[in-house]
Amino acid sequence: MYEGVVVLNEKDRELAIKTIMERGGDGVLRCIQCGACQSTCPMAFADFTLNPRKLIRLIQLGFLEEMIEDSSTWACQACNRCVEICPRNVKPFEIVFAYRRYQAMELAFSTSAVQSQMNLYMKGHAVFSEAYKETRQKVGLPPETPTAVSYPEALKEIQTLIENSPIMELGLF
């Protein structure tokens, strides 16, 4: 991620903080590193290299590109426990997502994330599997769920929304 002794400097710091703040992580400077977010975070339980507290500290010190290839952020379950527990209104979840947005715009995301974006565009579901059809039929339900999968006009609406969002700039679809 980063090696040896790092010389801290204001230029990197400003860029990192600005990048995160512009993408929704406006609480980054309020963090006092108490660690409450980390102590409830599923990312931290699973021992990913990054967790909200560590990501925030790195950004506060001016690290931004250094972690770009780290896929930990994509392990965030969006459970928002960190937001609930944070005593300083930092909203750590927003910072993880701000960093994800930064990663996405640099095309630095994991293959699983690409797959879920494709699913969302093609099927209307980020998490999609053909396997459930059989299970549904076994219990006497129609194979398709009564969601966008079964309603082409609803899927079309989802696609229109996606086509008009910044994600299209990535040229995934």
Partner: protein
Amino acid sequence: MVQVSTNPNIELLTYSEVESVEGFVGNFKVKVRKKQTWVDWTKCTGCGECMEKCPVKVPNEFNAGLDHRPAIYIQFPQAVPKKAVIDIDNCINCAGRKFGTEPKISKRTGKPILAPCERACGTGAVNRSLNLDPNGEIVELDVGTIVVATGFKVMEKDWFKEYAPHHPDVMTALQFERLLSATGPTGGKLVRPSTNQKPKVISFISCVGSRDVRYHSYCSRVCCMYLIKQAKLIKSKYPDIEIYMHFMDVRTPGKDFDEYYTSAIEMGINIVRGKPGGIEVLPDGRLRVMAYDAGLGKNVEVHADMVILATAMEVPESAKKLASTLSLTIDASGFFKELHPKLKPVETAVEGIYLAGCCQGPKDIPDTVSQAKGAAAVAAVPLARGKVVIEPTISEVNQEKCSGCGLCVAVCPYNAISLELVNDRPRAKIAPTACKGCGVCTSTCPSEAIVLHGFTDKQIEAQVEALTMPV
């Protein structure tokens, strides 16, 4: 405390509250409500027999709700004055003995049937036949200066859902203080409330509600130190108990404070820098403290028998009412505001009223005592001088111009204006000692008969004119 009761210059008015304050420095008129105690304190000897007999059980405030007290009670064993009161809201009027009713006569013995508290009292201090006023009595006092020292309250644990507040083994530090105390519910024996067994592992969590923008943004200043104190007391008495202390930061900036902290570490108390994010109850009833250690940069867990929460010091609800009674200003956190944070730390915006202790902001006992002695010194200045100077920037009526309409009397917020007869005609008159120079009467007077010295119409008009000139 005993010194207070034996000092001939101090008159104690306990179970009493300030109702209203009028006047100004040197000449305050205070109305104090002596709440109804329902017990004749001239007869009560503080023997406590009545407490033994009363069948009511309500949570005992003095032991932070850890045990119960009866409806007739002496607040605590060392109370000053040591007198009983009846908590009338919780009294169940045994034997139909509501206050002010005559007792029924027993058919069997022919004697009156008394309530247990009456029967227990050997001095006749409890007499339920008396028709006592539930509102108590109002006494009027003339005082020169006032020191406000109304203190703080501790936040309840129920606010912190993430820390399993319903669990009996999770308690506030004040509750734990009572548990450790020789006068507490267990007589000072340290036990886990859920099992009544000695705990093996105890976790302490600091900054619970303090330095937390969801509750109070300020630091309560005493928690680090009292947690360390509690941990040290346990560790020295029971060296086999494992202790973990979770701090966001350790704040020990006082004389001999950091040495106190260092000695705790040397005793084998574990310091974990990081705020726990939650407590879960494990299947065996222990508490899983989900924490983080800054030095390690990793998540850590403590499986504790008891967890002590250092809940924040906060302003009691009653302080707001007192602030409006005394015209005191409050700061963003709700504490009474001093006149100047550095140079006038005990003075208030109201001359003659001074602050001491935690009503002005969280502080420990050494700081409280210093401030209290400081407030006493400053409050004594007008008393020692024997006179006070009133600013002449107050309003005055020109009675030749006054038409006696009385509009000013109605608008004056300080009741400083009255009408007097001058040659059989009513004329307004302003009491200089009551006037605060606000100018409401001056601007209300239709006859331009009132002048506010130092802020005359001419002066104000000239100011407005100058401000509107181009520069």
